[in-house]
Amino acid sequence: MKTNIKIEAINIKKVFNRTTVFSNISFILEEGSALAIAGKNGSGKSTLAKIIAGVLTPNAGEFIFSINDKEIALVNRFKYLGFVSPYLQLYEEFTALENIQIYSGVRKLNFNNKNLSSLFTKVGLFDRKGDPVRTYSSGMKQRLKYAFALLHQPPLLILDEPRSNLDSDGISIVYDIVKEQKQKGSVIIATNDKEDLQYCDSIIDLNVKVNNSNK
């Protein structure tokens, strides 16, 4: 089901220990588009991705997250987005299937066997879904994070370093997910990879933003 998502950031600023990571970040993301967050290491790509996800709070600026012209409160933002990043950790003592069952339980989703099977097939983990996550390679864990992010079919997908630890098959799955997501909602990709940037319609370059803010 298509949801009319709109994200508007106005003069977002983040400070860590008196160091300004970035300031004056403004953008609008509309339905059906992909936005790239680019910048050198330490420029704040992941920080901005976390702020958009509602995990971090900006020190200044306004962030409007709306679905069908209705503003979504910060506390409910997690319901409308999926997040994938190398630093996101899943529960290693559980199997991949148990992890997904826990997440769907917490999200109160009516998930049946068919949905679960198609999700695991999509990310290429169907045959290993019963194995504990601690036995997974880093690439398999990254694939499982895509299952975690897509579980509730969110209108917004935030991908921080989307190709991290993935083989060529995995990268191809990611690009298929990005193309599919653009049909259903929006995508934000925090990356420096030129190939990733080709899938995006607009780019926020944090190097430029930082330079501007320092002038």
Binding site: T57, F83, Y91, V106
Partner: protein
């Protein structure tokens, strides 16, 4: 294929922690070892002596307080150490996380206190409770109060670098009113007081639980963010 049919996010978080604890035994082992070691030391220290009612009641709650301090911080500390805090941020509201962790700590503490009290009865022959109903109510209210405080303090200290030291230090002033009331009520239970006589202590304990739970619910949003 196993299917989840938990009615709420809170219960799923509780079940996740419960199953995780059964597999990893992070808190369970720490609590068990602490209770057994402390009671052994008390047993050898007492020897053939007959300590007073006040000392017996106080010693029981010292064991319970420090065993809680050794195990109950795990609920949030293990999420922080494993880096799964962000995962929880991305799937649940702060209220679901708080109450899920609270129920887990409550279940853990009730089980541990039943074990502690049974062992205490076994190794301390002088520990005779004359008013069993007062004792059961005291233990229940004390355990609930301890779990409520320990959960919110665990959430606060989970982000600090000196978790182990900070936990009992921060807990002590917050738990002092509760400890004084439960020690007094336990003493009354040993002496054979009626429920009516101990009702003042029970009112203090019930008020403490209400205040701590309400304050924790309001504060948790701020603690959980950033």
């Amino acid at each position: 294929m196993e299917k989840y049919n938990y009615k709420s996010s809170t219960l799923t978080i509780f079940m996740k922690d419960f199953r995780s604890e059964l597999r990893t035994r992070y808190a369970l082992n720490a609590l068990l070892m602490f209770v057994i070691t402390t009671l052994s030391i008390i047993m050898f220290a007492i020897g053939q002596e007959s300590p007073s009612v006040e000392i017996l009641a106080g010693m029981l709650w010292i064991v319970i307080f420090f065993s809680a301090m050794s195990g109950m911080s795990r609920s949030f500390v293990s999420e922080e150490e494993r880096g799964t805090v962000m995962t929880l941020h991305l799937i649940a509201t702060p209220a679901s996380v708080y109450f899920g962790k609270l129920i887990f700590n409550l279940v853990l503490m009730i089980s541990m206190n039943i074990f502690t009290v049974l062992l205490y009865f076994l190794v301390i022959p002088n520990f005779v409770v004359r008013s069993f109903d007062v004792f059961v109510i005291t233990m229940f209210l004390g355990t609930v109060g301890l779990s409520c405080s320990a959960t919110i303090i665990a959430a606060i200290i989970a982000k600090s670098t000196t978790k182990g030291t900070l936990y009992p230090v921060l807990s002590f002033p917050i738990l002092l009113p509760l400890l004084l009331a439960v020690i007094s009520a336990t003493k009354m239970a040993i002496e054979g007081a009626t429920i009516r006589l101990a009702s003042g202590e029970f009112q203090i304990l019930a008020s403490y639980i209400l205040v701590i739970t309400a304050a924790s619910y309001i504060l948790f949003d701020y603690i959980w963010k950033d």
